[in-house]
């Protein structure tokens, strides 16, 4: 009983326990924050990778994958598959009217099908409200716009107010108010970072203002078709003009900075992947047969609760079956989204483990400090130890006071650390904004990083482990001082000055 009383009394002393609690709290908070931010990174990479890929991908990336509709139909017969869609993935150049040209990844998609295997609709960045807010800001502008422009801006309002602007990216149609100006051009949806630059707050600006004129919404894409033998030069480069109807934001900067979604059939034609009459290579004359149209990928969404690895095995069987029926089927790859991004995810996972480990090593310094603080407390309490021994306290009893003290410091410190860390992790972006506003310091500049927000993911199991390790470490830190206290000669302890 005296042990509990003394632990509680010693905890209420002034600076020594405060420093010890602070050391444990800081270490715990530091490791939790690092682990959560790195975990958030990893989770965001995983989510983003999953978001742009679907669960399983069947692929023939260069020469293309024929009989894809047959494969899709058979895959959809599987109870493990919920949806499947063909996707063309190519690379080319994007030119904007300003004269800027950049290399891009061009994805030919059927928006509805693509939305069934990925959260495509949710990634569409601009809503009608964004356009309406932008119009309102232009109307309220000081100095005001010239009257002619003002009426032009105001006139555009109805078009946005009456329709969900994102629907045009879902149907790949031009909004009615743009049709006349763009003469029935196909539409496209580029990544948000392709033309937009993030502000320091991680936001984007709406560039398609009603006052800039329709041509600024146009984008020219150029691609190089590749022959079925996988060679260049068989075809001339293809070029087409598209109208930007929205921009998407996957959250993965590399994707948002390079990718453009265009209608599947338009890109298929540009890349000469559509069906064509076969020609006899010896005579150069038509055989009367049509070569099947091709795609580069089939993305498959697993049914609810289905393991993607299990779905992959089922798809393998389907692919083997279709390949057996079509001798001209090239070799196909079947990958889960995890297989596809294993390199990137593995690297981030390793980085997380390494950084957390490094910070855990740094924490050893703090726990050495706890041991030193406890040793100082033991020295300070040498008289007390002598008195307690004279009252009949055993060596084990004396040791348990200091071990219990370490345990109490560990519990209080780690819980305070957890509290601090959770507040920091949950509000890390707000804290950063506050720092940026008050002292101009921004630790994470969203203009330059892969994600536009500091990611964080407070994992309950991981946090529990960190807290437990902190408590155990605190007890271990008190072990040597407790042992020293227990070994003290009571007579020498009483004489200690």
């Amino acid at each position: 009983m005296y042990k509990l009383l003394l632990i509680l009394k010693y905890l209420r002393r002034k600076l020594a326990p405060l420093f010890a609690v602070l050391a444990v709290a800081l270490c715990t908070a530091m490791v939790i924050i690092v682990s959560s931010v790195m975990g958030g990174f990893l989770q965001q990479f995983r989510d983003a990778a999953h978001r742009v890929t679907g669960d399983v991908v069947i692929e023939q990336p260069v020469t293309g994958l024929p009989y894809y509709q047959e494969i899709i139909d058979r895959v959809l017969e599987l109870p493990e598959a919920a949806a499947a869609t063909a996707v063309i993935e190519s690379y080319g150049l994007a030119a904007v009217p300003s004269g800027r040209t950049m290399p891009v990844q061009i994805m030919g998609i059927d928006p509805a099908g693509f939305n069934a295997v990925t959260p495509y609709y949710d990634t569409l960045h601009w809503t009608s409200q964004d356009f309406l807010d932008h119009i309102d800001a232009l109307i309220r502008r000081d100095p005001p716009l010239p009257a002619e422009l003002l009426s032009q801006v105001d006139a555009a309002r109805d078009g946005y107010a009456s329709h969900d602007i994102r629907q045009y990216a879902m149907t790949f149609e031009l909004p009615p108010q743009w049709r006349e100006a763009h003469d029935a051009l196909p539409v496209c949806v580029p990544g948000i970072a392709l033309f937009n630059q993030r502000t320091q707050q991680g936001k984007y600006e709406l560039l398609y203002s009603p006052i800039v004129g329709p041509r600024w919404r146009e984008l020219t894409l150029s691609v190089l078709p590749i022959s079925t033998q996988g060679t260049l030069g068989a075809y001339e480069p293809a070029r087409a003009k598209f109208v930007i109807v929205n921009e998407f934001k996957s959250g993965l900067y590399d994707i948002d900075n390079h990718r453009v979604y265009v209608p599947f059939d338009v890109l298929q034609k540009m890349l000469k992947l559509d069906s064509y009459p076969r020609v006899d290579p010896r005579t150069g004359e038509s055989t009367g047969e049509m070569a099947p149209a091709r795609t580069h990928q089939i993305m498959v969404q697993a049914a609810d609760g289905v393991d993607v690895a299990a779905l992959k095995q089922k798809i393998y069987a389907v692919v083997d079956q279709v390949s057996a029926e079509h001798p001209d089927m090239p070799l196909l790859w079947v990958q889960t989204w995890i297989d596809r991004y294993a390199g990137m995810l593995g690297a981030v996972e390793n980085e997380k483990v390494l950084v957390t480990f490094l910070f855990a090593v740094v924490s050893i310094v703090a726990f050495t400090m706890i041991a030193v603080i406890f040793y100082m407390i033991v020295l300070d309490k040498t008289h007390d130890i002598g008195v307690l021994r004279s009252l009949g306290a055993s060596r084990a009893g004396i040791a348990s006071i200091f071990l219990g003290y370490g345990l109490a410091i560990g519990i209080v410190g780690s819980l305070l650390g957890l509290l601090a860390a959770s507040q920091i992790v949950w509000n890390i972006n707000e804290i950063q904004d506050l720092l940026a506003q008050s002292i101009g310091f921004r630790m994470w500049d969203p203009q330059f990083y892969v994600f536009d927000k500091i990611p964080s993911d407070l994992d309950g199991l991981e946090v529990t482990w960190i807290v437990l390790v902190a408590i155990v470490s605190s007890v271990l830190g008190s072990l040597i001082p407790a042992f020293i206290a227990a070994r003290l000669n009571p007579v020498e302890a009483l004489r200690y000055e």
């Binding site: 042990k3 509990l4 009383l5 008195v387 009252l391 009949g392 009893g397 009571p490 007579v491």
Partner: protein, 242 residues
């Protein structure tokens, strides 16, 4: 064999504590200080024994050995017929807790605890956390009673730094008495007090002795020692009749 023979003898004599041929050395670098050179002592129940000696003569050492706080290099201390230094498994700790009460010259109160808690801690040490809830009320009442008897009713919640020297020593006496020990071992209990306060403490000891408390008190002051009913002088490491 030898221990058992003493044990039989002690019981026949009515000796509560019996020290025989106690030797204690201290090593100060290369120097060997042979402080106790064969001390023999018998203490009967209810006796107040004063041990006189100059500073550094080994009085405190002898007291520590009698209380089982230190171990002799040679010799034995029998309590109630048993050699206390042969006690195993925490029995020596229990001997100190249940049968002996120490009073030190410098009080040695725990600074974080109040006067009442300083007294109660003596009871807590000998009690498990499971037993304490049932014993708490009685122990608390006894602690308050002891402090009241020693004139400290108004000082229960005061910490040692808020108490005078005499008050601290009375708290220390209450702490030593909380478990109703058979022997009170007092090491210069008035040594750190002024003459008047020293007299008050001595009066406390007189009352305790009057109530039958066995006391061993070491002091360098012959006037203080005169209060005891038996005085021995520790000189050259041996006890002599004063």
């Amino acid at each position: 064999m030898s221990s058992q023979r003493h044990h039989a003898g002690d019981q026949a004599n009515g000796a509560l504590l019996h020290a025989r041929d106690l030797h204690k050395h201290y090593h100060m670098g290369d120097e060997d200080l042979h402080v106790l050179r064969g001390v023999d002592l018998e203490l009967t129940r209810g006796q107040w024994l004063a041990i006189l000696g100059a500073s550094g003569s080994g009085k405190s050492t002898l007291l520590h050995l009698l209380g089982g706080l230190d171990r002799p290099d040679d010799g034995t201390v029998h309590y109630d017929g048993r050699d206390i230094f042969r006690l195993r498994g925490g029995k020596l700790d229990r001997y100190r807790s249940a049968h002996v009460g120490f009073v030190f010259q410098f009080y040695h109160l725990l600074p974080e605890l109040t006067a009442l808690e300083n007294v109660l801690i003596g009871a807590m040490v000998g009690c498990s956390i499971l037993d304490w809830p049932t014993l708490r009320r009685a122990r608390r009442a006894r602690a308050k009673d002891l402090l009241a008897q020693l004139g400290l009713t108004e000082r229960l919640r005061h910490r040692p730094n808020k108490l005078s020297g005499g008050e601290r020593q009375r708290v220390a006496i209450a702490r030593a008495l909380i478990n109703e020990p058979d022997v009170l071992l007092a090491d210069e209990p008035t040594g750190n007090l002024d003459a008047d306060t020293g007299k008050q403490i001595l009066d406390v000891f007189r009352k305790l002795h009057g109530a039958g408390q066995t006391i061993v008190m070491v002091t360098h002051d012959t006037a203080i020692a005169a209060a005891a009913d038996r005085t021995l002088r520790l000189q050259a490491g041996r006890l002599h009749h004063a």
